[in-house]
Every structure is written in structure tokens, then in C-alpha cells.
């Protein structure tokens, strides 16, 4: 790896300091900063200017696809392609199809949600190095990328320390 600075990460002991730092970073119009926290922190995504996730739309579209696909399959197989008389019920027995149509909706919607989540989070990821193991435990981290237009090393370092970072580290 080259010695080029990729960004600066600050570690915080509690979410309040992290939120303060995130607000400061937002005030500088940083676009590529990201936070790493052991649990979800309410309001952090709006402060960091994160857009709403696309995952719910994937769920909706694929759920509807599963619904129509499931019903389509049932109607096609039991009423059009190979009609079989089951217990004197009509070939196109819609009420009996509902549970399977429902399950297909859930199955496709659920699997697509998982797939979309992994895709948008770029997971699994074996390349990135771990910043600090304790960010899955009791440490909160804010990462500011050197790609930012107004990125100045000492400014970002100052920001982190002013907001109560217990440690700042250069990533590169």
C-alpha cells in the first residue's frame, strides 16, 4: 500500500460525542464521511445526510412479482395447462391459491431483500481492513475521507479532538 492518506478516523466513547462530531462534519459539507457504531443511533443518518435506502423498493417490487408469479403459476398449472378436478372444486379455485400466492410473495420479497441488502452494503467484504475491533463493542467511530473537497488534515484532526475523540488515526 502507498503512503497516500485515504482519510482520518476518530474514535469516541459515547454516541453523544459522535453525534457532535458528525454535525461538525456535516457543517463542513463533507459528502463521504461515514460512522461506525456498535448499535443503531437514531438521527445519525439524517445528520450524515444519508438518503433513504432503496431496499424497501426492491422488497415491494419483488414481493409483487412473487405474488403475481405465484398466482400465475397456480392458475396456469391447475386451470389452463393441466386442469384436474380436485374434490369438485372449480379449476380456478382462487381462495385455495391465496396461501401459496402469499407465501411466494413473502419468499421472493424476503430473499430479494437479503440479496439487495448484501449488494448495497457491498457485503461480504474481505478486502477492507478493520479500523478497530471495539467499534462492534463499545467504541463509536467517524471516518472522514480524504476525497472531500475541503479536506485539510489538521482541520479534520482538530474537529475530532474538539468533539471529544479519544483517538484519531490516519488511514492510508
Amino acid at each position: 500500500m502507498s503512503n497516500k492518506l485515504l482519510g482520518i478516523v476518530g474514535f469516541f466513547k459515547d454516541p453523544y460525542h459522535l453525534l457532535r462530531a458528525a454535525k461538525e462534519a456535516r457543517a463542513r459539507q463533507f459528502k463521504f464521511c461515514d460512522a461506525y457504531t456498535p448499535f443503531p443511533i437514531h438521527g445519525l443518518d439524517t445528520i450524515l445526510g444519508q438518503k433513504r435506502s432503496v431496499v424497501p423498493w426492491v422488497t415491494l417490487v419483488m414481493g409483487l412479482a412473487g405474488c403475481f408469479g405465484g398466482f400465475g403459476l397456480e392458475i396456469f398449472t391447475s386451470a389452463i395447462s393441466w386442469p384436474i378436478n380436485v374434490g369438485g372444486k372449480p379449476f380456478n379455485s382462487f381462495p385455495a391459491f391465496v396461501p401459496i400466492g402469499f407465501e411466494c410473495t413473502i419468499l421472493l420479497g424476503g430473499l430479494a431483500t437479503l440479496a439487495a441488502l448484501l449488494m448495497f452494503c457491498r457485503l461480504p467484504n474481505f478486502k477492507s481492513s478493520i479500523l478497530n475491533e471495539s467499534i462492534t463493542d463499545n467504541t463509536f467511530a467517524l471516518y472522514v475521507s480524504a476525497k472531500e473537497e475541503s479536506f485539510r488534515e489538521d482541520d479534520v484532526k482538530n474537529l475530532m479532538e474538539k468533539c471529544g475523540a479519544i483517538e484519531t488515526r490516519m488511514v492510508g
Binding site: H42, G43, T46, I47, R52, L60, P95, A96, V98, P99
Partner: protein, 402 residues
């Protein structure tokens, strides 16, 4: 957080909650509605007593469900140790104001049972082995006694829960919260049993040969679904006239909307469970109810229920912004309340007529019950502080965010 929502660091920072008062013109308006209802009922009794009593029963069950839903909601909040609902809990508490009114309305309903229920005619029961077999449950004295007991349970629990909460307003003792949790647990069990039986008594016994074990869950799904709609309307109204302006934010509305959305799906799930098992089993003693409603002139009503109570609200409520916008929520809440009426209509009216009928009898009496409900609920609201300021969960509840 964000969106200009204020974050309070202590309860002292919360601006004082103004007292609620229903303005005189509004009071007169609702009194006028009650009068309209009364005149309609008396007029309808003269012209067609059967239809008058069916309309009365429909409205009684609709508004009784809403009245008792308040106690259930409060008990549910205590048993789940909910924080988010603390600033809006008194709205649900106030619904208890309708229970004494509903009790009197039920006593009036007892006068009309011979127009409604086949099993109240001894001559018919004698020639009907099924009704004879059911007569140990479906007989007038037991019917009256158990329904009076149900009111004692509902109203008793409602008063106890509210009294403890009001006592807490004085000294902020957290033991009242724990006490209420202990009341809430047995109440929820008793509520499930009593509301199921009340549904069996007032609605299912309209067709005493038919039975459905899921019927109580079906009416409960409608109860909670419409209850959330009514809560949303009251909370938004109180927020707009300033009473809850500083303690309720979009996140509370969002959660009420989520519950309404959840029960939209739950209702569809239960309604379909009831329908599919009857359709699949195809047993003559069970199918009559569904045949009356899914063939002939009642098909449009059944379809309107399927789309109006499930499909349309499902897609209207599915998105996040939909559940956070006041005007949009008001529209959906009114829609849901209308559909709950249609659901009760779908249960009651096919017994009266093989074709759907709708006219002044139905509209006028709905207006009358609406007037009674609003007047009795606001009567309570004017007499209690609408936010439990010393509830240990209040601060976190007011700062509710996501």
C-alpha cells in the same frame, strides 16, 4: 432529532399543557347530531322497526368497540411497558367516557331483541333442535347478565387504570405504573374472553345456526384497526388546537400509522382465514353465512370490503411519508372508519334483507352515535390533564424519535 423536533432535557422544559375545551358551537353541533339520531331512530321505529333495530345494533356494536378499544390500548401500553405512547395515552383513557353511554344504549337494545334475534322467540326454538341445543347459552337472562358483567369488567379496569395514573400526576410515584401493569395483565385476558362473547352475542347470534370460532378475533381486528384511526383523528385534532402541540411529534403519528397498517393486514389475514376454512370445508352448517354474502346482491359489498378495508389502505399506508403526514393520515383514518362501518353493515344487514339497503335510517343513526361518542369522550377530556406529566416514562415518550 432533526426536522426541528425539540429535544427536552427534563420534564420542566416541556411547556405547560393547556386544558382542553370543546367550543360551544362544536358542542351544539354534536348535540344536534344526537338529536338527529334520536329523531331518526323514533321515525324509523314507526316505519320499519326491523330496519331501525338493525341499524341500531350496527351502530351500537361499531361505537361500543371503539369505546372499549381505549381501555384495551391503555392496558396494552402498560403490559408492554411502552414509552412512545405515554404522551398520547390519556386520549385512549378518555374513550372510557363512552362506556357508560354504551351501557345505557345496550339496555335500550335489549328492548329490541325480538326484532333481531331468532333465538328470542320460544316458539321457534321449540321446533328447532339446534336452537334448543344452544338455548343454555342463548337465553335472555344469561344474555343480559353476562353483558352487564362485561361492562363491569371494561369500565372497572378503565377507571382503575385512569385513577392510578391520575394519582401518579400528584406525586410521580413509579409504583402506580407497576400497579397498572398488574391490572393490565389479567384485564387483557378477560377482555379477550368478554369481547369474543359480546361479538358472539350481538353479531354472530343474528344467525344462530351458524358458528365461527374465529369470529371474536375477526371483530377484534376491526376494533383495533378502527381504534387506531379514531386515535389518529383525536391526536391530530388535539395537536392542532395546541393541547398536545409540544408533546406529540410525527414519530408518534408514525407509530399510530404503523399499528393501523399492521391491523389492516391482520384484519385481512383473519377475514381470509375465516372465509377460506368455510369455503374449503364446504359444510352446510357453516357455508350459509358466506353464501348470503358472496352471492347475489351482496357481492359488490363483499368486494368493496376486500378492496376498501385491505387492498387500498394497504397501498395507501405502505410508504413511510404516508404515515407521517397529518392531512394524509386524516384522510386514511376517515376512510378506515368508513370501512369499519361497512364491515359491521356486511355482518348485520344481510340478515335483514337480501339486498343492500342504505338511506336516512342508516345515516341519521350513525350521526347520532357519533355525536354521543364525541360528546362523552370530550366530556372526560375536559376533566383530566391530557398528558400524564409525572409518569416516569413521559420524558422519553415526549422525546420519541427514530
Amino acid at each position: 432529532m432533526g426536522h426541528g423536533q425539540r429535544h427536552y432535557r427534563s420534564v420542566k422544559e416541556i411547556p405547560p399543557v393547556p386544558k382542553y375545551a370543546l367550543s360551544l358551537p362544536m358542542r351544539l353541533f354534536y348535540l344536534g347530531l344526537v338529536l338527529v339520531g334520536l329523531v331518526t331512530f323514533l321515525g324509523a321505529l314507526k316505519i320499519d322497526p326491523n330496519r331501525a333495530w338493525h341499524s341500531y345494533l350496527l351502530n351500537y356494536f361499531y361505537w361500543m368497540s371503539l369505546g372499549v378499544s381505549g381501555v384495551f390500548f391503555v392496558a396494552l401500553q402498560y403490559i408492554t411497558t411502552s414509552v412512545w405512547s405515554t404522551p398520547i395515552r390519556r386520549v385512549a383513557d378518555s374513550f372510557l367516557g363512552f362506556l357508560p353511554v354504551a351501557f345505557v344504549l345496550m339496555l335500550v337494545l335489549f328492548l329490541g331483541v325480538s326484532h333481531l334475534y331468532e333465538w328470542t322467540h320460544p316458539a321457534e326454538v321449540l321446533h328447532d333442535s339446534i336452537l334448543k341445543g344452544k338455548s343454555s347459552y342463548l337465553n335472555m337472562p344469561f344474555f343480559v347478565i353476562r353483558n352487564i358483567v362485561f361492562y363491569a369488567i371494561w369500565f372497572g379496569a378503565a377507571i382503575l387504570l385512569l385513577k392510578n395514573s391520575l394519582a401518579q400526576d400528584k406525586n410521580g410515584d413509579p409504583r402506580f405504573t407497576l400497579k397498572n401493569r398488574k391490572i393490565a395483565a389479567p384485564f387483557i385476558v378477560l377482555f379477550a374472553l368478554s369481547f369474543t362473547m359480546a361479538s358472539f352475542d350481538f353479531l354472530m347470534s343474528l344467525e344462530p345456526h351458524w358458528f365461527s370460532t374465529i369470529f371474536g378475533v375477526y371483530t377484534f381486528a376491526g376494533l383495533f384497526y378502527s381504534s387506531m384511526a379514531m386515535m389518529i383523528l383525536f391526536v391530530i385534532a388535539l395537536r392542532r388546537n395546541g393541547v398536545l402541540a409540544h408533546v406529540v411529534n410525527e414519530n408518534h403519528l408514525h407509530d399510530l400509522g404503523k399499528l393501523m397498517f399492521a391491523f389492516c393486514v391482520f384484519w385481512a389475514y383473519i377475514a381470509f382465514s375465516q372465509y377460506m376454512l368455510i369455503w374449503y370445508g364446504n359444510l352446510p352448517e357453516e357455508t350459509g353465512f358466506m353464501i348470503r354474502r358472496t352471492e347475489g346482491a351482496w357481492v359488490p359489498i363483499s368486494l368493496a370490503l376486500l378492496f376498501g378495508k385491505f387492498v387500498i389502505p394497504f397501498f395507501l399506508l405502505i410508504s413511510r411519508p404516508a404515515k407521517r403526514n397529518e392531512n394524509y393520515l386524516i384522510f386514511i383514518a376517515v376512510w378506515v372508519l368508513a370501512m369499519q362501518w361497512l364491515d359491521c353493515y356486511w355482518i348485520v344487514y344481510p340478515v335483514l334483507n337480501d339486498k343492500p339497503v342504505f338511506g336516512w335510517q342508516e345515516m341519521g343513526m350513525f350521526a347520532g352515535f357519533l355525536g354521543l361518542f364525541v360528546l362523552s369522550v370530550t366530556w372526560v377530556m375536559q376533566r383530566i390533564p391530557l398528558v400524564p406529566m409525572k409518569d416516569p416514562r413521559l420524558l422519553e415518550g415526549v422525546n420519541h424519535h427514530q
